[in-house]
C-alpha cells in the first residue's frame, strides 16, 4: 500500500499539467495529503515488519542487467516518508499565493516530492539512483523560475553540486554493481566486498550522497540555494532533499561497505563537527534572515552526519530522528522567513526588519518563529532536543571530544537563533533602525519603493501588513504539532527506527 505514495504523487503531477490553472493548488494539496495519509496509515495499522527492509513490491524491470522494480520498507524509510508528507503538505499550503505559472510550479514541486518518496522506498540500487537524480532538475526549475534573490545563480550552483555528487554516486554504484553482481540492496547487504574496493568505493559513495546532506566543505550550495528558492522550494530543500543525501549515505554507503565505513568514519565525524561549528559561526554573521536559516540547516545536518559516524545504535537512531526533526523545523523556519515575512515586507535584511516591529504586526508569525527557534535551539520538549541528545549520547561512546566541541557549537546555534529572533521580531527600540550601508547593497532592499524601516521606527506604530492567511496557519500548525509531538514522545518514532538500525550490518 505504501508504494501508492509514489504513484499518487506522480499521478498528481501529471494531472496538474492537464487541468486548468484554477485547480492547481487544490490538486497539489489533495495529492500531498493523500501521500501523507498513506504513510500515516501504514505507520499506524499496517503489519509490515519494520525491523527489516521488507519487500513490498518486486517486478522484473530490465532482467538482462538484473534490474528490478523493487520497493521495500523499514522503520527508517517510514520515518522519512512521514516527514516528506508533512513537508509536502505544508509546502503546498505555504504556496497558496502562487498564481503565475501555478501549474508548472506545483508540477515541479510534486516531482521533487514523488522522487523523494521513491528514494526512501527503493530497494534496488539503480531504482534508488534513478529517483535520486530525478529530483535534481525539478529543483532547478523550481528555483530558477520562481525564486528570488540571485535565483539563476543559486539554482545552477545547487544543481551542479547535486549533479557532482550524483557523478560520484554513479561511480560508486557501478563499482557496487560490477563487484557485487547485483543491484538488490538486500542481497548486496549480505555480500562481502573486497576490503581494497571498500576503501575507495565507500568514500566516493558516501561523499557523493553527503553533498546533498550539506557536508562541510561541500555545503555551500545549501545557503545559496535556500536563499534563492521560493518558500516552498526552501521548505522542500531543507525538509526533504537534504535528507535524501543523509538517508542514502546510511542505506547504501554505510550498509554495503561496513569495513570502508570503519576506515573512514573518524573523518566523517571530523567533517561533521567542523560543519556544525563552522556553519553556526557563519550564521551568526549573516544579515539576510534566509542565509541565517540556510546555515542553520547545514549546522543541523552536521548533527545527522555526526550521528551516522558514531556507528552505534544511539547515534544512528538519533541521526534518523534528527532527519525528521530538522525536516520539520527547517521547513517551519523557512516558511516564516519566506512566506510570512518576505512576501509581506519584501525584505529579509535583519537590519531592515528590526525597525518594523513585526511582533505587533504579525503576532502569529512571531509566535511561530519563537516555537521554531526554540525547537531549533534544542529546547527540551521539541523534537530537536530529543534528536540531538540521542546523537550526543551516541557520540559520547565513540568520540567524546566531538561532544565537547559540538556542545560549544550548540551555544553558537542558540546565539544566532536568538539574534535572528530578536532582530526580526522584537527589536522595539530604534537602535538599529538605521540600516547600515552595507545592507543597502542588497538588491532586495534597493527594489523596495519606500523602506518601511523609516516609517516605523517608533514602537507604537506598527506598519499595516496583510494578515496571516488560513492556509499559512494550517501549514504552520501542522509543522508545530509535528515537532512538539515528536519532542514530547520521541519513543513513538524511535521504537520504529531503532530495530531497523539494529538490523543494519555495519553495527555488527
Amino acid at each position: 500500500m505504501i508504494a501508492w505514495t509514489i504513484y499518487i504523487t506522480f499521478a498528481g503531477a501529471i494531472v496538474l499539467l492537464v487541468l486548468p490553472r484554477v485547480f492547481a493548488r487544490w490538486i497539489a494539496l489533495v495529492t500531498a495529503t493523500a501521500g501523507f495519509a498513506v504513510s500515516l496509515a501504514t505507520f499506524f495499522c499496517d503489519d509490515v515488519d519494520l525491523a527489516h527492509f521488507t519487500t513490498i513490491a518486486r517486478v522484473p524491470w530490465v532482467p538482462a542487467l538484473g534490474m528490478n522494480y523493487h520497493l521495500a520498507l523499514d522503520g527508517i524509510s517510514l520515518t522519512l516518508l512521514l516527514v516528506t508528507g508533512i513537508a509536502a503538505i505544508s509546502a503546498v499550503l505555504f504556496s497558496w499565493d502562487v498564481i503565475d505559472r501555478a501549474n508548472e510550479f506545483f508540477f515541479w514541486l510534486l516531482l521533487v516530492v514523488g522522487g523523494s518518496y521513491g528514494v526512501f522506498l527503493s530497494a534496488d540500487l539503480f531504482l534508488l539512483f534513478l529517483f535520486y537524480e530525478l529530483v535534481i532538475v525539478p529543483k532547478y526549475f523550481l528555483i530558477a523560475i520562481f525564486g528570488s534573490t540571485n535565483k539563476e545563480y543559486g539554482a545552477m550552483k545547487l544543481t551542479l553540486y547535486s549533479f557532482f555528487g550524483g557523478a560520484l554516486v554513479f561511480l560508486g554504484i557501478i563499482a557496487v554493481y560490477v563487484s557485487g553482481g547485483s543491484l538488490d540492496l538486500n542481497e548486496l547487504a549480505q555480500f562481502q566486498f573486497a576490503p581494497q574496493l571498500q576503501s575507495w568505493a565507500f568514500p566516493v559513495l558516501f561523499l557523493g550522497f553527503a553533498v546533498l546532506a550539506g557536508i562541510w566543505p561541500l555545503h555551500t550550495w545549501a545557503p545559496t540555494g535556500h536563499v534563492a528558492a521560493p518558500t516552498a522550494g526552501s521548505m522542500l530543500l531543507a525538509g526533504i532533499v537534504m535528507k535524501l543525501g543523509a538517508y542514502a549515505s546510511l542505506r547504501v554507503a554505510m550498509n554495503l561497505f561496513p569495513q570502508g565505513f570503519q576506515m573512514w568514519r573518524t573523518w566523517i565525524a571530523v567533517l561533521a563537527v567542523i560543519g556544525i561549528v563552522y556553519a553556526a559561526a557563519v550564521a551568526l554573521r549573516q544579515r539576510d534572515l534566509k542565509f541565517v536559516i540556510g546555515y542553520s540547516s547545514v549546522s543541523h545536518m552536521g548533527f545527522v552526519l555526526l550521528g551516522l559516524a558514531t556507528a552505534n545504535v544511539f547515534g544512528v537512531s538519533g541521526a534518523v530522528l534528527q532527519m525528521f526533526s530538522h525536516g520539520v523545523i527547517g521547513a517551519l523556519l523557512f516558511a516564516v522567513a519566506g512566506r510570512m515575512i518576505y512576501r509581506r515586507t519584501h525584505t529579509r535584511e535583519l537590519d531592515a526588519l528590526a525597525g518594523m516591529n513585526l511582533s505587533r504586526a504579525l503576532p502569529f508569525a512571531a509566535f511561530t518563529f519563537v516555537v521554531a527557534s526554540a525547537a531549533s535551539m534544542g529546547i527540551p520538549g521539541f523534537s530537536g532536543f530529543a534528536a540531538e541528545i540521542t546523537i550526543l549520547i551516541g557520540a559520547w561512546k565513540s568520540y567524546p571530544l566531538a561532544v565537547w566541541i559540538t556542545g560549544a557549537g550548540m551555544v553558537l546555534v542558540a546565539a544566532f537563533t536568538l539574534r535572528a529572533l530578536k532582530r526580526t521580531f522584537f527589536d522595539v527600540d530604534g537602535e538599529s533602525a538605521a540600516p547600515s550601508n552595507a545592507s543597502a547593497a542588497r538588491t532586495d532592499v534597493k527594489q523596495m519603493p519606500a523602506p518601511p524601516a523609516q516609517i516605523t521606527s517608533s514602537p507604537e506604530r506598527s506598519i499595516h501588513l496583510e494578515p496571516i492567511t488560513i492556509p499559512e496557519k494550517l501549514g504552520a500548525g501542522l509543522l508545530m504539532f509535528a515537532t512538539l509531538a515528536v519532542g514530547l514522545y520521541p519513543k513513538f518514532l524511535l521504537d520504529r527506527i531503532q530495530p531497523a538500525v539494529e538490523a543494519m550490518r555495519f553495527l555488527k
Binding site: P63, L65, E133, A144, M156, T159, F163, L171
Partner: protein, 485 residues
C-alpha cells in the same frame, strides 16, 4: 547464387533506391514536391522496413559482402526509422529549392547506411562509406542560397575525403598483411600474430576514417560547421543515421576483424592494439567536446560539440569490447540518434519562427510554445543523462560495461573521465533550458503559427521514444543483446 536470390536478399536496398528515383521524378514533374515527396519517401522507407523484417534471419553472400543477421537487420531497421524521422523535417525547410532532389539524395544516403550496416567485408564497407559520404556532402551543401551551407558542405567534403583516403590506405595495408578483406577471415589471420609496425599503421589509418565519421576529437573539426551551417534535416541525418551506422561498423571491424589485436587500455597496463587508441580518442573527445561546448552561444554548434563528447562516451563500450560493451554502445548510439533528430526538429521549428538558432532565439520558448519547450527539455535532459530518460539508462549501461571490462577495473580512469565530462555537460544543457523556461520572450518575437503538422507529430513521437526507452529500456536493450552472437 542466382541474381533473383540476390535481389530478394537486397530487396530493402532496392526498394529504397526505387523510392529515391520516384521522389526524384516527382520533384522534376510536379510543383508540389514539398508535400508529395516526403509522403512517397516515408512510404518507400516504411516498405523497406517491412522488407527487412521479411528477410531470412541468416544469409551470407560473396564472402561477407552482404550479410544478413539479426544484428544487421535490427540496425537496418533503426537506420531506416531514423531516415523516416528525418524526412518530415524537410517539409519545414521552406528555403530548399529542389525538395525532390534533396529527399532523393537523403534516400540514397540511407542506402549507404544499409550497405554499411549490412556488410562484413572491408571493400563493401568502404563503398558504403563513400556512398553515404557523397550523399551527405551534397546534403550539407544543398542550400545554395546560404553561404554557411556551402561552407559546411566544403568543410565536410574536404575532411571527409581526406579521412576516406586514410581509411582506404589502411584497408590496403590490412589486406596486404592478411590477404583477405572479409572481417572474419582477417580476424583468423591476425590471431597469434604480434602487432607489427605495419599492422599498427594499417589499424590506426582504418580507425581514422571512422573517427572522422563519429566526430571523435581530434577529427571533429568539420562537425561544428556542418551542424551549424547545413540545412536542418541534413545536420540531423549526419548526426543520427550516419553515426549509428558508423558505430555498428566500427564495432564489427575492431571486435571481429581486429579482435586478436585488442591490446589493453587498462591504467598502468596498456598493451599496444586498437583499444588504447580508441580509449585515447574517447577521453580526448569527452574532455574537448564538453569544455568547448560550454562556450557556445549557438544551439546547433553546442549540439555539435556535445556530439563530439557523446561520440567519446559511446566509444567506451567499444573499448570495453565483448558482448556487453558492444550492446551498450549500440543502445547508446541508437537512443542518442533518436534524441538528436528530435533536438534538431525543435531547433528547425525555432529557426523557422525566429529566423535563427542562437541561444537568444530560444528565449521564452516555454511561453511561446509549451509543447516544443517540453520536448526540448526531454531531449536535452536525456543528453545530459538524467532520469527517467533514455540517456540515463544508456550511460549506466555503457559505464558499467566499461568498468567491468578491464582486469581489476583497469578502465576506471576512462569511466571517471566520462563521469566528469557528463557532470560538466549538465551546465550547458541547463543553460539552454534556462533560456527556454526562465528567460522572458523578447518583445520583438511574434507568436508564430508553431511547427507544422508533420514536424509536430515527429517531435512528439521522438520525445515519446526517448521517454519510453528511459522507463522501459528493456524493449530495445533485450533486442540488441539477443541479436549479438
Amino acid at each position: 547464387m542466382s541474381y533473383l536470390e540476390l535481389l530478394k536478399l537486397a530487396a530493402p536496398e532496392a526498394i529504397v533506391v526505387v523510392a529515391a528515383l520516384a521522389v526524384l521524378t516527382i520533384g522534376l514533374t510536379t510543383a508540389r514536391a514539398l508535400v508529395l515527396g516526403p509522403i512517397v519517401a516515408v512510404l518507400g522507407v516504411a516498405l523497406a522496413i517491412g522488407a527487412v523484417v521479411m528477410l531470412p534471419s541468416h544469409a551470407n553472400l560473396f564472402g561477407g559482402m552482404l550479410v544478413i543477421s539479426p544484428l544487421n537487420s535490427l540496425f537496418k531497421i533503426i537506420c531506416l526509422a531514423l531516415a523516416i524521422a528525418t524526412v518530415p523535417l524537410v517539409s519545414s525547410e521552406k528555403a530548399l529549392r529542389n525538395p525532390g532532389e534533396y529527399i532523393a539524395v537523403l534516400l540514397l544516403g540511407s542506402v549507404g547506411l544499409m550497405l554499411l550496416v549490412g556488410s562484413e567485408e572491408l571493400l563493401m564497407i568502404f563503398i558504403g562509406l563513400e556512398l553515404l559520404g557523397l550523399s551527405l556532402y551534397v546534403l550539407a551543401a544543398f542550400d545554395k542560397a546560404d553561404v554557411h551551407s556551402a561552407e559546411a558542405g566544403l568543410k565536410y567534403f574536404l575532411f571527409g575525403s581526406t579521412a576516406s583516403a586514410f581509411t582506404l590506405f589502411g584497408i590496403s595495408l590490412i589486406y596486404g598483411m592478411s590477404g583477405t578483406t572479409a572481417l572474419a577471415a582477417i580476424g583468423q589471420k591476425l590471431a597469434g600474430a604480434p602487432v607489427q609496425p605495419l599492422l599498427a599503421v594499417g589499424i590506426v589509418m582504418t580507425l581514422i576514417g571512422f573517427a572522422f565519421k563519429i566526430a571523435a576529437a581530434p577529427f571533429h573539426l568539420w562537425a561544428p560547421d556542418a551542424y551549424q551551417g547545413a540545412p536542418i534535416p541534413s545536420a540531423a541525418f549526419i548526426a543520427s543515421g550516419s553515426k549509428v551506422a558508423s558505430f555498428v561498423v566500427l564495432g564489427k571491424i575492431v571486435l571481429v576483424g581486429f579482435g586478436p589485436v585488442h591490446g589493453s587500455a587498462d591504467w598502468h597496463a596498456m598493451i599496444a592494439g586498437w583499444s588504447p587508441v580508441l580509449a585515447a580518442l574517447a577521453a580526448f573527445s569527452i574532455l574537448l567536446g564538453n569544455f568547448v561546448a560550454l562556450a557556445q552561444t549557438n544551439v546547433r554548434r553546442l549540439l555539435a560539440y556535445s556530439a563530439v563528447a557523446h561520440g567519446g562516451y559511446t566509444l567506451l563500450g567499444v573499448v570495453a569490447g565483448g558482448r556487453e560493451g558492444f550492446s551498450a554502445t549500440l543502445f547508446y548510439t541508437s537512443t542518442y540518434a533518436v534524441t538528436l533528430v528530435g533536438a534538431f526538429a525543435v531547433v528547425g521549428s525555432v529557426r523557422r519562427e525566429t529566423g535563427g538558432d542562437d541561444l537568444q532565439n530560444f528565449s521564452g520558448l516555454a511561453a511561446r510554445s509549451p509543447f516544443l519547450a517540453a520536448c526540448m527539455a526531454i531531449f536535452f535532459l536525456s543528453l545530459a543523462g538524467l532520469p527517467p530518460l533514455a540517456g540515463f539508462f544508456g550511460k549506466f549501461y555503457l559505464f558499467s560495461a566499461a568498468f567491468r571490462a578491464g582486469a581489476n577495473h583497469g578502465l576506471l580512469w576512462l569511466v571517471a573521465v566520462a563521469l566528469f565530462g557528463s557532470f560538466v555537460s549538465l551546465y550547458y544543457y541547463l543553460i539552454v533550458l534556462k533560456v527556454i523556461f526562465v528567460d522572458k520572450k523578447p518583445e520583438s518575437a511574434t507568436a508564430g503559427n508553431g511547427p507544422d503538422f508533420f514536424s509536430r507529430i515527429t517531435v512528439t513521437l521522438l520525445a515519446a521514444v526517448v521517454l519510453v526507452l528511459g522507463i522501459m529500456p528493456q524493449t530495445l536493450a533485450a533486442k540488441i543483446i539477443a541479436s549479438l552472437p
